[in-house]
């Protein structure tokens, strides 16, 4: 049987895609590569030539950028709006201050560390972000963009949108574990949940449409003298969120919506289940002691594959 799935690395993470019609696999791979290369070129915090780096070099001033970055920033601002600021696009400086100033794969080689910042940006600072659809962005003075929390999910939505335009049959794409279905049909897609890439599968569910994202405090972790850190920062403190939940998975109309819910849940900690219920989010939360909590329509556990 011809292959219907493929994988490669992009945006510093694993990309997986599958198609219903194996004849469309090559086209699907090419589309995904093109879209993700464009996203990396404009939105990477670790590229000196990216448009995001140019914006971060001139906070408080309008910067001409690729309109693709405007779309990414707009999505990030929408995530901040939907989460009451719990998912903030302006945590670039706190992340750098904690040492996450390079591609994560290079973090283990770090030998010197900057001094942590004493205070994060104001919680509502994201409201001062301005964009111009023609290709300009302005962030508040003293801040820096980091689209890591929403970027991969938004990229998955972009790839799925390309699939809606260019493919004739169903497809699914996962970018770093944030996934989106294109051309939903009468068949579900199997999704394997785990706490990290290549990790033990803890649950298999089946999704019919939309997006599904997982946020975890167990993957992007690093150490510096006197502290163990992870990458999901609490915008209220500028520090890693308390590890109430090891992982949170949720669905959404888009993958970005799903990721907004999972990131907000990690940040909210013990308040997450009530917040997810109030926003009618279907989610699965795994606590530090391994207990599983469900909200919305999340089914009882299926057997792991």
């Amino acid at each position: 049987m011809s292959r219907t799935h493929a994988g490669f690395v992009a945006l510093g993470t694993d990309v997986y895609l599958a198609v219903r019609d194996n004849k469309e696999l090559g086209h699907a791979i090419a589309l995904a590569r093109t879209v993700l290369q464009d996203v990396d070129a404009v939105a990477s915090r670790f590229r000196a030539d990216s448009d995001l780096t140019a914006v971060n070099a001139a906070p408080g001033r309008w910067v001409t950028v690729d309109p693709l970055l405007v779309g990414a920033v707009d999505a990030a601002v929408a995530a901040a709006e939907a989460s009451g600021g719990m998912v903030s696009p302006l945590l670039g400086r706190p992340l750098v201050a904690l040492g996450y100033d390079r591609d994560f794969a290079l973090l283990a080689e770090r030998r010197t560390w900057p001094e942590p910042v004493t205070a994060p940006p104001p919680l509502d600072a994201w409201r001062e972000i301005r964009t111009d659809a023609a290709g300009r962005v302005r962030i508040p003075a003293g801040t820096a963009l980091d689209l890591g929390s929403i970027g991969k999910a938004w990229a998955a939505d972009l790839v799925a949108a390309a699939y809606e335009q260019e493919l004739r049959s169903g497809a699914i794409v996962s970018v770093g574990g944030d996934l989106r279905i294109a051309h939903p049909d009468d068949r579900t897609w199997a999704v394997a949940l785990s706490e990290g890439p290549g990790g033990r599968v803890t649950c298999v569910v089946h999704l019919d449409r939309g997006g599904l994202a997982t946020s975890s405090t167990r993957v992007r972790r690093w150490g510096r003298p006197g502290a163990r850190l992870h990458h999901v920062l609490d915008p209220r403190t500028g520090l890693p969120a308390p590890e109430t939940w090891h992982s949170v998975s949720a669905t959404g109309d888009t993958c970005a919506a799903a990721n907004t819910a999972t990131t907000a849940a990690v940040v909210l900690g013990a308040d997450a289940p009530a917040w997810l219920d109030a926003h009618a989010v279907t989610a699965r939360l795994v606590s530090a002691d391994g207990a599983v909590r469900r909200t919305g329509g999340w089914p009882l556990e299926g057997r792991a594959a």
Partner: protein
Amino acid sequence: MDALPTRDDPRGRRRNRYQHAVAALTGLATAGSLTATGWIAGQAAHTWQTAHQTTTGPGGSSSTGNRHPSTPASATRGDDREGERPRIVLRERPTRTRTSTRYVAPAAPVGGGGTVSSTPTHVTQGAPPAPSSGS
């Protein structure tokens, strides 16, 4: 032939200003279908050009030498003598041309989404489950 009024000649400035004011007030264009906006742009270009003009070589003439004193600089549009044609100065900007197709999905609030089930609707073969893990 009288010496033509120059930029620094009060006589010329007063005459031109009067004519230009009349044209603006009455809405009349002094050359074809020229609009007031176009006249303003032309006048600005004329002012800039006059300040930067240089005399051409032997046998040539200055940029104002062959223009009737009652005719604003903008009226010389279509005259292909380099010094008299209003020019639009474009500011150079860094450019980068990349051609690709963009598909931008609209942002959506939290919630919604598909149905998650513990069993598939169909027995499927082939592709392994799509991974959803923290990263």
